[in-house]
Symmetry: C4
Subunit: 221 residues, 4 copies
């Protein structure tokens, strides 16, 4: 950070989470510079562990390349603000909430919009997803010990009915967890991935984007 960012006062819903927020801001700077989070698109979150899951997530409509500490909101497990007087969060927050509650053990969820991801999500939509196989880079996905891996990227249809999409995602995680192990695409929309913490989910974004570009360029070779 070039500026000195102030900590939140005691009692503020974001107080005590300045480090995690700064990690998400740094994701924003990186992903914006890569062209994966332009036009105020994308949403990033960290999960606060506890008896009842809570999330800190980007507020709606912010430029992801220039996030300020205050550009975040704290939500409960229903996706509602934990305190009043917070900024509005995007409707898509429900996807973060579902992923935080699912057995995928997400400690951080990152959603981006890249050109290659968008193109592949359309190109392979009719077959429900696509396989990525044999790349060393796959080892960057947590728990993958060899490149001799067949990794499936599922694609969901886009919709503005987020609760319905969240149920679809949830259903696949529960019934076919091997098909949705680290992330998924939404058609002509973008990527969702997650990890134990921001370091892991950010690594997953980089791994997926690298592989999407490889697959996309190979289609054009």
């Amino acid at each position: 950070m070039s500026e000195v960012a102030e900590s939140f006062p005691v009692g503020h819903p974001l107080a005590g989470f300045e480090d995690q927020i700064d990690q998400l801001r740094e994701c924003g700077r990186l992903f914006h510079s890569r062209g994966w989070s332009v036009g105020t698109s994308s949403n990033y979150s960290v999960v606060i562990p506890g008896d009842s899951v809570e999330l800190i997530v980007t507020a709606s409509g912010k430029d992801k390349g220039r996030l300020k500490r205050g550009d975040f909101v704290r939500l409960d497990q229903e996706g509602c603000p934990t305190q009043a007087d917070q900024l509005k969060s995007s409707a898509e927050t429900m996807l973060h909430v579902v992923l935080a509650a699912e057995p995928v053990s997400a400690g951080s969820i990152l959603h981006t919009h890249s050109v290659w991801g968008t193109l592949l999500s359309d190109h392979f939509y009719d077959q429900g997803g696509f396989e990525i196989e044999g790349f060393e880079m796959l080892k960057g996905l947590e728990g993958t010990a060899t490149h001799e891996t067949e990794h499936w990227v599922p694609i969901f249809d886009n919709t503005q009915d987020i609760p319905s999409l969240a149920r679809e995602v949830q259903a696949m995680i529960e019934s076919q967890p091997e098909k949705i192990s680290h992330g998924f695409l939404i058609r002509k929309h973008g990527l969702y991935t997650w990890g134990r913490d921001v370091f892991a989910s950010r690594r997953h974004i980089e791994v997926y984007e690298f592989l999407f570009e490889c697959v996309g360029r190979k289609l054009g070779l």
Copy 2:
């Protein structure tokens, strides 16, 4: 800004508009780094509301990646300098003036030259424009609530007769506003877009450029 920029003295035509100018300078750094404003191309403006519209616009021939506070001029609703002894503005300024006066409510107008925009403006010229449809990123265009949108990008022929081009643009805004809602391309030249303020017009540039790259790469897939 890494350097400390000085404010303009009282009576200077740009005095009091340092913040808006700095926002345009930041657009310049971003767009230049993206390759959308190279070779001293592009023009950026903010509209000063009032009884009679006035604009602050980039002076002619400046490197957009390194704009200084003084690299701007203030123009009246005829496109003439509000005071003498200002830098020369580009002939294209008349397009900014027309857009500031039209009912599109432009508070800021941004004109860029990207490779993908240039290629599409040529590829689709014969059909007068092209449709962008079904992308989530379309929601970044002000007032667009769903991806289930058919967005038309009109293409005008390039000309050095800017007053004539300005009349064509004006005529389409008045007769077919739904076909020119957020921006337009000029053939083998570049993009014009606008928004309520610099934040919104900059977002529109990012949204259009993302979509142009998607459309362009898909043509090559």
Copy 3:
């Protein structure tokens, strides 16, 4: 510059030219970040006007993204060092010397190696060059008032015999100046362009690279 660079002591061959050198260093940072001057490729120069032409040019083998003030040499109109104990300059310096002496009035000469320029220099080699026509960006080439321009980019065969190549370039400038007005390509090698000063030659690099990418991508569309 983030570091404070020291001025040269009196009597040093580069003393008094710190500003021009810093402009070339900034070109290096920009061109390296764009991928146009990687692998220690490229050469940049400024011409010192006077009774007999002299040049300040990058020394051989330097990383163009991290040029230091001392990474330059001063040469006379034969391409020989004006004083002993200077760094070695590259053999290609003779092309700079010829361009400085020719009636093209070069105040600064920039030579870069980009992927698109390299590809086009090979693709169009058999026809001796290629035409760029109808792009607004052409107006960034000094003295070009309209996009309705047919701009020829000549391509010379690559050789390690630089004096011979320099004579070929010289011959074209003298016999067909309209075919080599602002720059040329060397096959599978790179671009030479020039301008009144570093600002103009740097603009020409950006203009050419933009147009090369447009032409190259259109071939693939």
Copy 4:
């Protein structure tokens, strides 16, 4: 470096090598920003000359765009830590060890994962490698005096059995040194190159990546 990095205390296995480590960290920042070392992929090393070769190499699982001084380990000529209590190094370290011991005189070994390198390593795998010929950029490979060079890039199959891969590389260096003069690719994995020092190996990475993009884009032209 924007932060002030502390030197290692006397007796620390990395003490005295802060400069070389900082050079590798700068490689990491550059290669990450280029997209050649994303997702915590890649490994970089410097060789410490002496009676018995030792290496300083990146620790496993670090983000290459944000390497800290402590993110390195010191290994002996068997690839074992020179002292206990160091971070874990990646299995691929054995390739660095082999290259440090071979007559290729590596003073620094750099391994990256780029999109173009990955695509070419797959496209040309069946023929065992590919020729790069006639590019001026080839002169950036140490000891190459002319573009009239046929440079062979060998491709090895990917495997998680690194000692076996290391023996294959070693065998080619010994039996066909002209075919593996400056680097090699591993299929769907990445590039290894080396040089006298970090400056030279970094230049080789830039040269190879430039040439890979040229070859890859030409296949698509």
